[in-house]
Symmetry: D2
Subunit: 288 residues, 4 copies
């Protein structure tokens, strides 16, 4: 029930007229902080799952089920609508179906499946992504949609086609993917102008999801050409690392815990995030 | 093999003459940061498992197996020796045995089992801990020791007896627990003087583990009275929360990602933590 | 969505006039076999979780979260409505709330929380269960109900009060538990006559769940006094053990695999259980 | 420690002169039954993980980490040395490394990595396996060996080269794989004569693992040409399904539980498998 409502909230945002940026979260506590700040949408990126749960780079050495486990840990406690990228579905169309089923069961609100090969192929000279054929991409999206059991779950296409092959390829894919019935398209990399986005939107006719690295457009400008979700990278994780390094370094070198007071959240904030008052109410209500 | 070595390193510290403070860690990435700073010992507290993985306070609503899961995620990738508190073993002596088996299987280096009741009893007017009898405490420690399959695993007693009942109780328990063959004793709460610690050490005759809130003694002073591990609380988690709140707030209010640059770890540091060079070497060695 | 429908089916059975027996299942495959036979309701008992996933007896050495994990593995693939016992909620009322949340998130259709202490207390001379006070039992049930987020989830009381204290105690508890709003009461042990059941039903006024060991009454007779679900023990698991022992013994002693043919399910049955045709259709539809 | 000993026992068998068949197991309880019968080696096949934990056929829709989870559940309680197939390592050489790390951490004794593509490729007209190049196979095996942290872990090659390309291809691969330092080679499919096996052994010069479907040779004959482990399929799982179907059908049609007595393991056998006496001893020793 709750997850259906979270999915419907995400759908409402995508059906709306604004461009919204989600908070990049990585565990139950970070999701709670994002909620407390006011966010309604969170993002759990595959790269962030890899970095925080297995300390690995974003090269598909994590599995779909451990991604699902982290989604579950977050969604058990969070009111955020959670959007995730499901990479290329972690294999073929059957794997994409399993990934959708697992992510949905874990409580995710929306996901995107990319039209790329992966993991890195033997003999490939670099770690760059390669596009699969439009037909394969379409098949995978149709499979992903068929695997959805809650119709409110948001299922999107994702493609780096512009960056890898240019506008013509992106438009061809946007058109073919739109026909599958997906709820949106996530364009990764390369877009430089609002005209380019408008061209995609004219063909795709559904909400666009964009990465943060693309141009310096305002949310209003992006909203005007069909962008409903603007990702902003994962500064949070890198910010956490800097804080950890500084606090660890301070203590490692004999610094006092007292000196750290200005750097840490006060007990009252921690209590609020951990719902101490709620547990206290339950103790009173059910145990005393 | 690797875990046995990590356990032996922890044993060496406890058999040494210095007092060492571990880094409070909570996931694979934070453990990597602590390693990079120079730490050899990490601490994963039950309270931190509760706050980061289920966003709950430290009232035993997390389970022993989800604690084990988090230990496992850290120990798969970390070189740290990891010490954890196992609360009261999460039930009776049989549960304490299961907890030791699970934590050991997950790769933990050392753990402490406390002589307290828990979770909070029906009708209890507050959330404070209560001591079990010495006999029950001894039984649980003997059970925990029997459940250990790698003899290098460090198994300690933990007790808030001083705070709850005073020095006489603590000494009686220290003596009884020492006789079980545990590797150390973790004293929580209340200790104010080095003489008090010395009195415990004279009776216990094995390494002492102390919380950070007790007095303002130097590591050298504590080492002189038998303390080998000094915990320092979990400023890291509260520091992470403050950072997350500030970054989320900045972005939520329309702040640019560019402005965050001084607040986040640079890409090179992230790459080092995620072992990008190591993966790159493997790609070259095995796939090209 | 799917889980809500499974819960509604269970509710419909409890609101009906028949007495139904669920299939005792233990993993994804056994659940599929039960479905194929025609069952609409499955039972995953705590004792069965203990025996099949950690090879331990039913003495609460398994945790609520590993119970939830097994529920999840079953409910990802099964159309059965799944009923489980949640023992005493695995701790106090807060733990019962967590257990309900976890089990619901894992997809369970219904559960019962028992009014007993556990795990076995220090000094207890045997392994028998002890009743908690009515007040504590009521508090835990109210907590369990409050923790439910999908209102279609079936939440029941469970009590061995008759066996431990007699009819008066059972009736007092039935009355108090009914007032909490639970959906049914699971009576374990001791009941010998239909009159006894009728007496409970007259007070409780909601569906009764019974264990199989109680008398030799027909389903129709039980239905007549308010019993809607009749458990029948876990012969399946013991049957599986006998089969495994015989097949392992045969092969261990050099017997041929050919000789086992009459003892095993034919490939066509295995294919049907594993939905080979469905995967084949997906391959054709999305990948060729 | 314990897992290292289990690995050394498997190594001793492979270094010996006999051909041994493992018990095909699938969960903690089945492993206990196999032990009770006398088995020292168990096998957890990928196909069996798929069928019992996600009720799916053997087409790589399960993930490496959920395979590892099932290994872990078995190895927490079993004395068996456990051999598993790791399919093609679940991706590229980096994924194979992760798989080895996870399986080792879960407690596995030995594993084989196959030189095939997978999962099924887009446009592939059937579900048959395809060979990767020798170079890719060699790279993956070298990666798998490098990922091993306990040197006693048995790491083998696996190949269907004979079936797909004939003897010349198999010999070329056997030679190349032997040079990587793997501990054995698992040949799947097609072998018809002892001479063929001898030819492989003359080139490979290390233990051979064979599937059960290949010819009607005695264990002694196979041992004579270098086979040390002979798999025998998974009759146990199909036997369990038949038993479940019959018991479920009996009960579903109103049959009595009493009638099932001859078909189920007696309580004393269940108690022995669940180590009831051991838990009873612990209760006496630590809690009374």
């Amino acid at each position: 029930m709750k997850h259906t409502e979270q999915r419907k909230k995400l759908r409402a945002i995508m059906a709306g007229s604004k461009c919204v940026s989600p908070a990049s979260v990585y565990d139950a506590l970070s999701a709670r902080v994002a909620e407390a700040v006011g966010y309604e949408v969170g993002l759990l990126a595959g790269s962030v799952v890899a970095s925080t749960t297995i300390a690995a780079p974003d090269i598909m050495v994590h599995t779909a089920t451990e991604y699902a486990d982290q989604i579950r840990r977050i969604m058990r406690v969070s009111k955020l609508s959670l959007f995730v990228d499901a990479d290329n579905g972690y294999g073929n169309a059957l794997n994409a179906m399993r990934t959708v089923e697992e992510f949905e069961h874990a409580g995710v609100s929306g996901l995107a499946v990319e039209d790329t090969t992966g993991p890195i192929a033997y003999g490939q000279p670099d770690t760059s992504l390669k596009l699969v054929s439009i037909e394969e991409g379409v098949g995978k999206l149709r499979a992903a949609l068929a695997a959805r059991s809650d119709p409110s779950l948001v299922v999107c296409a994702r493609t780096p086609a512009f960056k890898l092959e240019g506008m013509e390829s992106l438009l061809a894919r946007a058109k073919a993917y739109a026909a599958t019935g997906v709820d949106g398209i996530h364009i990764t990399g390369g877009i430089k102008t609002l005209e380019q986005l408008k061209a995609v939107h004219d063909v795709f006719k559904k909400p666009i999801i964009m990465g943060s690295t693309h141009g310096g457009f305002s949310a209003a400008q992006l909203a005007g050409v069909g962008v409903r979700i603007l990702l902003q990278g994962h500064q949070e994780v890198a910010g956490v690392v800097k804080t950890l390094r500084e606090i660890y370094t301070h203590l490692y070198n004999g610094g006092s815990t007292e000196d750290l007071k200005p750097r840490i959240a006060p007990p009252a904030e921690m209590d609020q995030l951990l719902n101490v008052a709620g547990y206290e109410r339950c103790l009173k209500e059910y145990m005393r």
